[in-house]
Symmetry: C2
Subunit: 329 residues, 2 copies
């Protein structure tokens, strides 16, 4: 295992030290592994909270800041944060208007956010589950579909709406609409290697790929021989289009790298993916190309397509200032 780390057990804690050093606009609670905005929202504004296992950086801590999350709760690598952590973050970010929990659909995450809501006592909490991965209906760590790329787009859009002062019920309804309007599908060229084990977390032949892989290396739909970028783009786009009608609406499209795939390849893939989408009548109105929801050092990519409208595009374009997404500020 070749990694830029000290001890395997210190990776999360030490990455948060680096995050804090690089981003004075964040406040890191190192004891509890929670990342907050240094300047909290005004009193009476709904707070947006997310979190999950680490190893998917920049998700979630890289999306804390104006126009996006109020805090991110960091679990150990590929491990859900604890109810105590989430409850503490919930209490800390609440300004009196309630807290919206954005939760990727993994059994541990869903359960622990649920328990945290109880632990947080009198605070008004609404929860929206993200389950956008069309690859499989149930998976290693989920009942139902896995939550993946739509999370990034959802955090951006709902975060912008929260800055406008919308109330908790409105924000939860918006979040459910966005979560329901997006689909994702990923693939792996290689497995990730977990620092704690030092070994690839699944085996993949030298000339095969895993189509429909999860962000923890969960099995996908099938293993096939390595194909061209064009063939792989079709394997990702077709199941997305088969699962949901995007119609002629404008779409926000993300071509996401899994962590170890160079940007030049991601742009090759985006060229293929956007051509397939346009051919199918989906209008690519906004896009992201890069590493946004990763799986440590896995090579591969995922495609996310979100059906949008003028309201969602307006929220997408609104100012945001986080380590990983920043514009207009």
């Amino acid at each position: 295992m070749k990694k830029l780390i000290n001890g395997a057990e210190d990776v999360l804690a030490e990455s948060l030290v680096g995050l804090a050093a690089a981003h004075p606009e964040l406040r890191v609670d190192h004891a509890n592994r929670i990342v907050y905005r240094a300047e909290p929202k005004p009193h009476g504004t709904v707070a947006i909270l997310s979190g999950g296992g680490s190893g998917h950086e920049p998700l979630h801590a890289g999306y804390v800041g104006f126009g996006m999350l109020d805090a991110a709760v960091c679990g150990e690598i590929f491990t859900s944060p604890t109810p105590d952590q989430i409850a503490l973050a919930t209490k800390t970010v609440d300004t009196g208007a309630g807290v919206l929990h954005l939760v990727k659909n993994y059994t541990g995450d869903v359960m622990n956010f649920d328990m945290a809501t109880e632990l947080a006592g009198g605070i008004a909490v609404a929860t929206v589950i993200i389950a956008d991965d069309v690859a499989v209906e149930d998976s290693t760590y989920t009942a139902g579909r896995r939550g993946t790329g739509v999370t990034v787009l959802l955090e951006k859009i709902v975060g912008a709406a929260a800055e406008q002062g919308r109330d908790l019920a409105e924000l939860a309804a918006l979040a459910r609409r966005v979560a329901g309007s997006g689909r994702s599908m990923g693939m792996a060229l290689t497995s990730a290697t977990l620092p704690a084990s030092g070994k690839p977390n699944f085996d993949l032949g030298d000339a095969e790929i895993e189509v429909g892989v999860g962000i923890h290396g969960e099995p996908g739909r099938r293993r096939v021989p390595l194909g061209s970028a064009r063939e792989i783009a079709a394997m990702l786009v077709e199941p997305i289009l088969a699962d949901y009608t995007f119609g002629g609406e404008p779409a926000v499209v993300m071509l996401n790298g899994m962590g170890a795939t160079p940007l030049i390849e991601l742009y090759v893939m985006f060229g293929e993916v956007s051509a397939l989408l346009e051919k199918a009548g989906v209008r690519v109105a906004r896009s992201l190309v890069g590493n946004y929801i990763t799986s440590l050092d896995m090579a591969g990519c995922s495609v996310t397509v979100l059906r949008a409208d003028d309201e969602l595009l307006g929220l997408w374009d609104a100012p945001v200032s986080t380590p990983a997404l920043r514009w207009g500020v």
Copy 2:
């Protein structure tokens, strides 16, 4: 070789198709592999041009846009762009006030930018060479030091100054000052694999690293056994501090990933690097952590430190809108 590509010979051309699809604010001349801003600068403003071999994305095309480059000339992977390409870009971006060429110190790049200046005829061109890599004095493709990470910071700072309407001589002097005030040093955990050869471009044992590696896999100072993040940080920071006096001035620090290293590791490294710098009296005033000047799918990182002052920090903070660096717009 496991890559998300079609043919090995099509990688650059097809990545530019994807870049154009993702960024309508850019105009891509596909025949000549030049990336321009879709909206050129006002008449009478100095244009900033850079370029070089591909495989280092987002460098350089990802830095085209308001507040940074006017155009980037893309050579084939790890290959200098041709004099004709560079001359055409020079003529196209000139608005009558001249063009500043920012050139990384590689023999082919320096020669071809030089020939392009002659080919561009009556256009006023000033050239600034970047040679910031402290690892070695001469290298595989260079007489003198290699140009690496300072390029990113230089393009940002000089690009901001150009938007203010400064003239060519002033911008060239500023660029020389910045190029002289920054130092870099990199390391590799693994080699990159070139699409055309399908093989690693150098061999590295399972438990060794190359300290002082170049962005084309050029040999560094030495090979040593894989150490901890803390040890590796010292191997990168010490030669930088030994080479230049940063004094108590504020510094812009970049912790750059070589392409295949996950962000969580880059943040671990940034924690170590920033602690070493602060201990040495260097004040980390601004930072970048991520993949900014890469070497295809090489795993590893580099450190860049730039001595700044109020003027340079002001130019750093000025609005920028490019695919890879964006704020304030």
